[in-house]
Each structure stands twice: as structure tokens, then as C-alpha cells.
């Protein structure tokens, strides 16, 4: 995610960030976007069934 995309995402969410803070918030948003990287790069995630109560119960919960 680029800083421009980060700003757009914040604006789309209706968050009005003060000028003296916007850069640090955008920097965190772009960092956070990278956190999802392992999920976006894991083809195995397309295999299991969507998590539901049964999956949790089978796990023992």
C-alpha cells in the first residue's frame, strides 16, 4: 500500500486526522498493510473450509 493509498483509506473511513499527525498515521497504515502479506501469499488458505462453529468444535473448543 502506498502512502497515497493509506491517506485515501483513512479518508474513506471518515477519519479526519490532524495535519500534525497525518504522516505518522499514514506510515503506520502502510506498515499494517504489509502485516497481511503472509495471508496474501499463502495459497494453502484457499483449501480449508471457511471457519465456522464446527471447525472450532472439531478443534475442541
Amino acid at each position: 500500500m502506498s502512502p497515497m493509498d493509506g491517506r485515501a483509506a483513512l479518508a474513506d473511513a471518515g477519519l479526519e486526522i490532524p495535519d500534525d499527525e497525518i504522516e505518522s498515521v499514514v506510515a503506520w497504515v502502510t506498515t499494517a498493510a504489509a502485516i497481511a502479506g503472509p495471508l496474501r501469499q499463502c495459497p494453502d488458505l484457499l483449501a480449508p473450509p471457511l471457519v465456522d462453529g464446527r471447525a472450532w468444535q472439531e478443534f475442541g473448543g
Partner: protein
């Protein structure tokens, strides 16, 4: 140790029943200790001195009349200020929180503590809305580490852990969404359990992330955590499970040191971790290497789900009261805009994928052991003014929170500077008592949990 203060809940319960101690004397000691040190440590947001005195007097009266409510009867317990209680407001340590939320009714967990005879001494400090780092610009206490007051107690249940470590209370309850019981417990050198998701009713707890939020006990020892757990867990099938084991002789323990996954490692970490494993082996456990499956994906899923659900809860308020939130919390929640609906679904898928793999792992090992963190508590200056990524990248709590498994954190040998280090022991969903019994067995052959900060 504070003079005259019991070693833990079990000892206090014994002394009360033998007539050598009263709940009133214990609660007065708790209040005196808070008077003495809390301005420096910052454990409490709100103290309930007068109602605690009244509850202690009632506890003594009941025991005198033959009514014994169990191990917590007359015991001073602190409650994280994200849980409602009838005595006072619930701030969640935020100006953005309505302090009269739920109209001062007891959270279910508080109600259960009272039914078990516990004396609620007050509301303990935390990271704002159980998220982020302390904000010195806001009018709330900063939970400081009793081992070094320039350092952080950990979060988010920092006040609960530091109050136990500094002998203000004998037990406390905290909440854990990504590590909020285990991180402060580890940094303060006490013991705490992240309960199986769904084991303790969260009614009356300000939400952070519904998929993970759990309530758990904090105390000096695993045995004392078990006493609190027995009082607060749900009576249904998930909460009522009892141990299938007795001791750790012959138990198979999977181990992953998570060295490669750690952003920083204290010079004393590897030897302390190896010593802990050696202690378990000498107690008869069979230790085998078992890397945690899908580690990167599961940790990623924790942040994606936690920040997305956190943003969902806070977005309406963030839009209108941005500056009422502390800098750290508002920025962390705003980070939720980084994720798409597809990211959230993939994160939930990662849980299902990991559940299958971890279920297979627990067919081969009884419990699993990792470091809680590979560093000791950071200084508040480094945390607030510096880059916290090295600390965050050294915490290994999100994995088990994502999977909902019970996980106990407990101290091992300290750093060279004397700061606590810790391990975490996780088990299959529903094995809360089992993991506490492993921790109890470890604490039966070690003394790390008995160390007291020089406060």
C-alpha cells in the same frame, strides 16, 4: 517480600482459616501497601478502599459463622479497569470511554469473584482500551514495572500484573486478545493464564476484538491462578473440564524457541530457556522439538482480525473524538483501514488451517512451550519516544490468542540485569487446568516465581 504479606492466595487462605490472619488485616495491608507505593508504580485507576474494608469485614463474619466460600474467601483481588464493577466507573483508561457504561453493574467475572468471597480492592490500570502503549499526555496512571520503575509493566493488563508483583493484591483478573495477560505477567515476573476462548463470560468487558477477547487470572503462582480460574470460569462443558493428568512425569512437551521469529533476543534468553527445559526434563517430561505450524500466517491473522474488529468497534467514536484517544491507541485502531474484506476472510481461514495442524500436533504432544518474549521489559522512554517494533517483534503471544488455546505465562531465570524473562505453555482448547498443572509442577521444582522486586 512485604513484611507480613502472605506468599500467595493458598497461604493466605490457610492463615485465615487457622485464625492467624483475618481478611480485614489482609485488606488493610493491601491498602497500606497501595498508599506506600502506588503513586510510583501506577497500578490503580480507582481504589475501592471503603467497600473493600466492608467486604473484608463481611468475609470474616461469614467465616466466623461457618460459611466458607472457598480459596478466594476474604482475598484481595484487583480487577482490570476494562471490566465493570458496581463500586465505580469503568474508564478503559480512555477519555473516549463512557465511564458509566452498563450503569455500574458488575461484569459477570466480577460477580463470580464476589460469589467466591473475593474482596475487590479496585480497578487496575491498563493500556487504553487494552491496546497500545502508555500516553503520558492523558490523565491516567502509567503502569510501571516494579522491577525497574523506568520500565513498562507490559500491556495491556499492566496494572493487574504489577499490583500482584508489588504485593498490592494477591490476585487479579486481566484480559487477553493478543497477549494482554501474558505480556505484563512475563515482564513483571508473575504468573497468568490466557483462558480458552469462551471459557470465561465476557459480559461487562469493553470489547477489543470479539474473535479473541478472553478473561484470565493473574497471581504469584500457577496454583493461585487455578484458584481464581475455578471461581470465574463458566459452568458449562467448556469451562468445567478438569485435568486428565497428574504431574508431568512422562508428559510429552513440544518446544519451539522461536529464535528466527524474534526481532531481538536478550543475551540471557537462550540459557534461561534451556535451563527451563532442563528443569522439565529432570521432572520427567519428554521434550521434543515441534515448530509451531503456520507461525507467520497465524500471527498475521491475529493483527488483521484484531485491528479490523477493533476499528469496527471504535470507528464511530474515532470519527468524532479522535483527540480523546491517546496517540498510540488511536493510531493502532486506525491501522485497521489497511485491511480489506478479503484480508479479514483470509485471516479467519488461517485460523481454520492452523487449527487442523495444531490439532495434529497435540495428538503427539500434551502441551507446547515457547518463550513468551525473548526480551525483558523495555524502558518507557524507548517505548514512547523510540521505535517499538523490536519489542513487538519479540513478543510471541499472538499465535495462541489467534487459535483460542489456553496458555499460561510464567517466569524463568531473569536477565543479567535482573529483569524477568518468561515462557508460555499452551495446550489444546479446553485444557486450561492441564496447562496450569504443568506450570504448577515447574514451579514446584524452581523458585523464579518467588522472586520479589526490590520495591
Amino acid at each position: 517480600m512485604t513484611e507480613g504479606w502472605p506468599a500467595g492466595i493458598a497461604e493466605a487462605a490457610r492463615l485465615i482459616r487457622s485464625g492467624e490472619l483475618t481478611s480485614r488485616a489482609l485488606v488493610e495491608a493491601s491498602i497500606s501497601r497501595a498508599d506506600e507505593v502506588d503513586k510510583r508504580v501506577g497500578c490503580y485507576v480507582t481504589r475501592f478502599d471503603e467497600t473493600a474494608r466492608a467486604a473484608a469485614a463481611l468475609a470474616d463474619k461469614e467465616l466466623g459463622e461457618g460459611l466458607d466460600r472457598g480459596p478466594l474467601h476474604g482475598i484481595p483481588i484487583g480487577v482490570k479497569d476494562i471490566l465493570t464493577a458496581r463500586e465505580g466507573p469503568t474508564t478503559a483508561q480512555s477519555l473516549a470511554q463512557d465511564p458509566e457504561w452498563r450503569g455500574r453493574h458488575d461484569a459477570t467475572v466480577v460477580e463470580r469473584l464476589r460469589q467466591a468471597g473475593a474482596v475487590i480492592t479496585g480497578k487496575t490500570s491498563l493500556s487504553e482500551f487494552a491496546c497500545g502503549f502508555p500516553d503520558p499526555e492523558k490523565p491516567f496512571p502509567i503502569p510501571r514495572n516494579p522491577w525497574d520503575l523506568d520500565r513498562w509493566a507490559g500491556g495491556s493488563s499492566g496494572g493487574s500484573a504489577s499490583a500482584v508483583a508489588a504485593d498490592l493484591v494477591l490476585g487479579a483478573v486481566g484480559t487477553d486478545t493478543g497477549g494482554s495477560v501474558r505480556i505484563p505477567v512475563g515482564f513483571c515476573g508473575v504468573t497468568g493464564l490466557k483462558t480458552t476462548w469462551g471459557t470465561v463470560d465476557t459480559t461487562g468487558c469493553v470489547p477489543f476484538a470479539w474473535s479473541f477477547d478472553s478473561i484470565g487470572p493473574i497471581a504469584r503462582s500457577a496454583a493461585d491462578c487455578r484458584a481464581i480460574l475455578e471461581a470465574i470460569r463458566d459452568p458449562g462443558p467448556a469451562g468445567a473440564r478438569t485435568s486428565r493428568r497428574n504431574g508431568i512425569e512422562g508428559m510429552r512437551i513440544g518446544v519451539d524457541p522461536l529464535t528466527a521469529a524474534s526481532a531481538a533476543i536478550d543475551p540471557g534468553q537462550e540459557s534461561a530457556f534451556a535451563e527451563a527445559i532442563g528443569d522439565l526434563e529432570r521432572a520427567g517430561a519428554i521434550v521434543v522439538e515441534r515448530p509451531l505450524p503456520h507461525y507467520a500466517e497465524v500471527v498475521s491473522a491475529n493483527y488483521v482480525i484484531m485491528l479490523t474488529e477493533g476499528l469496527a468497534y471504535h470507528l464511530p467514536t474515532l470519527r468524532t473524538r479522535w483527540s480523546d484517544y491517546g496517540r498510540s491507541a488511536r493510531q493502532l485502531f486506525a491501522g485497521g483501514v489497511a485491511f480489506s474484506g478479503a484480508d479479514y476472510v483470509m485471516a479467519q481461514q488461517a485460523r481454520a488451517m492452523a487449527w487442523a495442524s495444531v490439532r495434529s500436533m497435540f495428538a503427539d504432544v500434551d502441551v507446547h512451550l515457547t518463550p513468551m518474549a525473548t526480551v525483558g521489559a523495555p524502558t518507557l522512554h524507548d517505548l514512547i519516544e523510540g521505535d517499538p517494533s523490536a519489542v513487538l517483534g519479540s513478543l510471541h503471544t499472538p499465535y495462541w490468542a489467534t487459535l483460542g488455546c489456553p496458555t499460561v505465562a510464567l517466569p524463568i531465570a531473569p536477565t543479567q540485569a535482573g529483569l524477568p524473562l518468561s515462557i508460555q505453555i499452551a495446550g489444546p482448547a479446553g485444557s486450561d487446568v492441564d496447562v496450569l498443572q504443568v506450570a504448577e509442577a515447574f514451579q514446584g521444582i524452581t523458585t523464579h516465581h518467588l522472586r520479589r522486586p526490590p520495591l
